[in-house]
Amino acid sequence: MKKFARVFLALVCVLLFAAAAGAETIKIGFNIPLTGDIPKVGEESKFAGEMLKEDINSQGGLEVGGKKYMLEFIYEDNESKAESAVAAALKLIERDGVLAIVGPNSSKQAVPAGQVCDDNQTPMISPWSTNPDTTKDRPWVFRAAFLDPFQGPVAVDFAMEQFKAKTAAVLYALDNDYSKGLAEIFRDDFNAKNGAGAVKAFESYSSKDQDFSAQLTTILAAKPDFIFLPDNYNEVALIVKQAHDLGWKGPFMGADAWGNSELMALCGDDCKGQYFSTHYAAAGATGDTKVFIDRYKAKYGYEPADVAALTWDATRLVLQAIQNTGGLTGKERADRKAIRDAMAAIPEFPGITGNMKFDEQGDPIKCAVVVKISDQGEFVFTKSVCP
């Protein structure tokens, strides 16, 4: 027993030493959904973060003002809930003392978490959130994705051109900021372009619902040219199947929340041939984007969705901003302020999801793509739309 205690003591000493020796670290928090409704989104964000961390730490760390720092990424699960995202953000800011936060991904969590980060003066960048409210009037909050006021019209224009659509129906999640915001933008834009009443049915559901038959019956009775689904991939799979069960044979148009590697596993044949707007197309990518996709695929065994690529870009943006500060003081508040200022000063950034220019709200101006789900279940590039 005594011997065990001695060994244990020695171990503790070694660990303490190691911690002391590696004290020069930069902590970055990740506020991501590792469980809950969309766990794959969290997993891909985490894997992209891990890949970037290994790249930099294997080269001895990140060089800031002539000094090397090891990176430490803390992944906090927000369970895909708004209230947990707020708690996770506070935990990262107060307990872990991170210099910046990457995430949350969905607008449902990013909008409230953005408020927390802005109040606590900690830089936050959401990789995937497209709702304008996330960054609006919040100088400490940034994002790597385009906005819904841009994405909505992209979907409208594409559907009008591709399906020759004059009428549409929308089914969206009422308690999801992303889904609701995008649905309303789509409705207003479609009505403006096709005359009032062109959106024949505007139906909603709640996030935990599994049966959509009543809403779909109303939609089908209105006989629209196509159905717009700005919904998360897990719900999309159920909605598309149930619509087919009710006899719907027309097309669907989706948005960026469709773009997940699990979509085809859940939805299968029913989703083939449908279109959705997204941040990048994995099939047929070139340059740095292809390098990223190939490395991710080799390491984790499946093709990364847009959220992985956006997390990669968002985290690199944070690291770029840290380097641009020209040196860290070691004082949390001062460093956070320096990072925020450096981030706001980045004029243009070449990401793997496209070139980004930032406007005064901290939002990037970048292109969107529309992809088609092929018969092999791949997301094939169809069209690129730039602002």
Binding site: L34, T35, G36, D37, P39, K40, E43, L174, E203, S204, Y205, S206, K208, D209, Q210, D211, S213, A214, Q215, T217, T218, L220, A221, N234, A237, L238, K241, H244, D245, L246, G247, E262, A265, L266, G268
Partner: protein, 304 residues
């Protein structure tokens, strides 16, 4: 307009079938033990997962088997294994408490905890990733005008009706059914008459859990995305359906389930979906206010 109404009635029949199947399990256990088995919704979830693993295992071994044959194997296997889970819960969690003569409140709390253990155990064991249930039935869509039905939906409604008739027969016409009813009247006198009370209780759990397993399988076929929390909300609502029907009564659970299904679907068909739970439960509350024991319930001295 008429087509939409008929279509929504069909939708409501299918959705109500699930509430009915789950409510039957609640009501059986309550009828015998006066115990609200709050873990029942999660046993339903476990049933769906068991069906998933058996189905994928069979499909993995023999790809050439037609879907209906796989289904014919999956149904009994799922029901047996889910019944085992239910019986183990009774054995591990409820029986020791009953033996010690614990107040009914503690058993209900234990049931709640069992449900959470099942949910989070599943989350820890299998991860948060969704499972996609394989398509065992070749879906056929029958369309008459603007009204569509699938063979699967018809099967679900038929199953619910058959299960109800079967349970009603067991409880009212068989000897073991008589024993079950006797226990609910007086569980202290029944053992004195030489009726093995534990056997009857285990039988009750077998019945309730195996049909929860069947419901899980049918649910997974209809809504083929499984997640660890899928049983929680449906389970609670089915419990409420059972109470409105008059908990402890088989007919009550059956009709209560369909009633809730109808109200939910028809509310969504007319109003925005936000109002669904608001209006649905307001209607159920009114029913309970008028008849506090539920539609078929008899006034009991102590209910929880």
């Amino acid at each position: 307009m008429l087509a939409s109404i008929i279509q929504n009635l069909f939708n409501a029949f299918q959705w109500g079938s699930f509430y009915s199947l789950i409510a039957l399990g609640y009501t059986l256990v309550y009828g015998v033990l006066r115990l609200i088995n709050f873990a029942h919704g999660d046993i339903f979830m476990v049933g769906a997962y068991i069906a998933f693993f058996i189905a994928t295992a069979i499909l993995g071994m023999a790809m050439s088997l037609p879907g209906w044959m796989v289904l014919a194997m999956v149904i009994p296997a799922t029901m047996i294994l889910t019944a085992l889970v239910g019986v183990s819960l009774e054995r591990i969690a409820y029986r020791p408490l009953r033996r010690k003569g614990a107040h009914r409140l503690y058993v209900v709390i234990t049931a709640l905890m069992c449900g959470l253990v099942l949910e989070n155990g599943n989350l820890a064991l299998l991860g948060a990733s969704r499972k996609s249930f394989p398509e065992l039935v070749d879906k056929v869509v029958y369309s008459i005008g603007d009204v569509s039905m699938t063979n699967l939906k018809i099967g679900v409604v038929l199953s619910a009706v058959l299960v109800f008739i079967f349970l009603q027969f067991i409880v009212t016409k068989t000897k073991i059914g008589m024993a079950m009813r006797a226990i609910s009247y007086d569980k202290f006198a029944v053992p004195l008459m030489g009726i093995p009370i534990d056997t009857v209780i285990v039988f009750t759990f077998i019945l309730g859990s195996s049909f929860a397993g069947l419901a899980g399988l049918l649910f997974a076929l209809s809504y083929p995305i499984l997640d660890p929390y899928m049983g929680a909300m449906v389970g609670w609502k089915a419990f409420i359906a059972a109470v409105v029907g008059g908990i402890g009564d088989i007919r009550g659970a059956f009709l209560g389930g369909f009633l809730l299904g109808f109200v939910e679907i028809l509310v969504v068909a007319v109003f925005p979906s936000t109002y669904r739970d608001l209006i649905a439960f307001a209607i159920l509350m009114v029913i309970l206010c008028i008849k506090p024991t539920g539609m078929f319930g008899v006034a009991g001295t102590t209910k929880i």
